[in-house]
């Protein structure tokens, strides 16, 4: 195992039935970094995350976490190993209070003391949630839902946080605020994978980036060395990427 690499995806092929969505994807997620995966609708981002989180079994290839093969392992078991995800569209439990949502995030935590500490950290990270703590999640705004989804994911005290489309449908100010919180979380030592459609923000908030087009990695590199124009060309399949 490569020291310093938390998760790897090796030659992953995945799809649904006869439909092939991912071709030979290989990625490395080093400890302590923020890695972004950039791609438009239908690029295969969700399929990739589903394969990583054990929602769908890949056709071939493997996913490792801390050197251990976790391909096709049940989602709840992957979470128990220290991987957590804030899913696209937040998926908060709408019929539960904000507080109960956070408690669900710490479902696998047995220590009461740790639970209290994690709760405190969540409310510190997102003070807006503290004010709404007793309210049903159904009554939260889009931005607050996204905050709750992240806070809930962090309640498990993960080693790796995967954020799927954080910015979807949110105002730019709110998105920036949330992204800054992600930087704080990363500062505390949590490795982060950002999955995004938006090129510019993804590049500026991450250390390393992969660009996914039609199920293939077409470009990768240290985020601030990738040119935004090149990434956009690849993203839209124009100029030399046509």
């Amino acid at each position: 195992m490569d020291e310093g690499v938390l998760m790897t995806v090796e030659n992953l092929n995945a799809g649904y039935g006869d439909f092939r969505a991912l071709y030979d994807i290989s990625m490395r997620f080093p400890k302590g970094l923020i890695v972004s995966i950039i791609g438009s609708n239908g690029a295969g981002k969700t399929t990739l995350l589903n394969a990583i989180m054990g929602v769908n079994k890949p056709v071939s290839g493997k996913v490792t976490f801390e050197g251990e093969d976790i391909t096709g392992v049940r989602t709840s078991s992957i979470v128990a190993k220290g991987v957590t995800m804030s899913p696209e569209g937040s998926h908060v439990f709408e019929d539960m209070s904000v507080h109960e949502n956070l408690l669900m995030g710490a479902y696998l935590t047995r220590s009461k003391e740790k639970l209290g500490r994690m709760l405190e950290r969540s409310y510190e990270l997102f003070p807006a949630l503290k004010e709404k703590s007793g309210q049903l999640a159904d009554f939260l705004s889009g931005g607050q839902r996204q905050m709750l989804a992240i806070a809930r994911a962090l309640m498990s005290d993960p080693k790796l946080l995967i954020c799927d489309e954080l910015s979807l449908g949110l105002a730019p100010v709110v998105v920036n605020d949330i992204y800054n919180r992600i930087l704080d979380v990363n500062g505390d030592g949590v490795t982060v994978i950002l999955v995004e459609q938006e090129v510019q923000r993804s590049l500026s908030f991450s250390d390393y980036s992969y660009v996914l087009v039609k199920g293939r990695v077409v470009m990768e590199g240290v985020a601030n060395e990738l040119s935004e124009k090149e990434v956009k060309d690849a993203y839209f399949g124009i100029n030399k990427y046509a």
């Binding site: 989180m53 989602t75 709840s76 899913p87 998926h91 439990f93 019929d95 669900m104 696998l108 498990s156």
Partner: protein, 290 residues
């Protein structure tokens, strides 16, 4: 007038029992979207267990019931874990057919062993009236049925609303993917839910067995009562189940009061039809599946 008051009181008491019969069906539907056709038959299976155990080694009803609850929880775990969980991902019908098959097997095995005669569980309270006035007579038996049923519903409400297990059950009910992302093994949660549903159903089976008697095929008529209760009250709501039970019980007995005992079941289901027309999702439905 006295008979009218009596009908309402008896209807409410009967309704409590109906709620205990229906709540397990409601729970399973609310959590995994499965209509458990075997719910009634499993309930009657529990009646048989209580009957045998209370006559035999256990000697009385309470220890026999406790043993039955353990047996039924194991049956529920095996049925859910070994059969239903395997087909649940393949759409609604396969799981429905599994429970249908289960119902048929239980009925036939019971008939093979016990024949088609009516049985009952010994009941020392049968002829004791706790309230006996000009306005109303309340038999100890009906009162016990009601109180035990309400206790079951309250215990279930507490379990679902106030415990960690209950929270994981609600999470799995409202969003399977999110629940798995929290580390909840939803398939295992379904097993717990089925065990809990069968435990509530078994208490219902014991009460029914003491009050009305039963035979190998009684399960289907109780399944229909359970359906009525759950449809009126709204799938997945415990309070709604109690309300549904009481409405069905009262409307049946008032039907008997106004039109004669022959049409009481008909009136009960006409009420169901009216409520279904006005509120297609039931009166209180809070655990909505997405």
């Amino acid at each position: 007038m006295e008979l009218f008051v009596q009908s309402v009181i008896s209807g409410v008491l009967l309704g409590g029992l109906y709620a205990a019969i229906g709540v397990g069906l409601s729970l399973v539907f609310g959590i995994m979207g499965l209509t458990n056709i075997a719910h009634g038959s499993l309930m009657i299976l529990a009646s048989f267990f209580v009957m045998i155990l209370s006559q035999g080694i256990m000697g009385s009803v309470i220890p026999a019931l406790l043993a039955t609850l353990v047996i039924m929880a194991i049956i529920g775990a095996v049925m859910q874990g070994a059969l239903i969980n395997r087909v649940l991902d393949k759409g609604a019908e396969p799981a429905l057919l599994v429970t249908f098959g289960f119902a048929i097997i239980i009925q036939n095995v019971l008939q093979l062993i016990f024949g088609a005669d009516y049985k009952s569980i010994k009941n020392p309270l049968a002829s004791v009236n706790v309230i006996d006035t000009k306005w109303a007579i309340v038999s100890g038996e009906y009162l016990v049925n009601f109180l035990v049923s309400v206790a079951v519903l309250l215990a279930l409400h507490f379990l679902i609303r106030r415990t960690k297990l209950g929270r994981s059950i609600r999470a799995a009910a409202s969003n399977v993917i999110a629940a798995e992302l929290m580390g909840v093994n939803t398939k295992r949660t379904y097993i717990y839910a089925m065990c809990i549903a069968l435990i509530t159903g078994s208490v219902g089976g014991m009460l029914v067995g003491r009050t009305f008697g039963f035979y190998s095929y009684s399960g289907m008529s109780y399944l229909i009562i359970a359906f009525g209760v759950v449809v009126i009250g709204g799938m997945g709501s415990i309070l709604g189940t109690l309300l549904g039970g009481v409405i069905l019980g009262v409307s049946q007995l008032l039907g008997a009061y106004f039109f004669g005992p022959g049409v009481q079941v008909l009136v009960g289901y006409l009420t169901l039809l009216v409520i279904l027309t006005l509120r297609p999702r039931g009166l209180l439905s809070n655990m909505t599946r997405k």
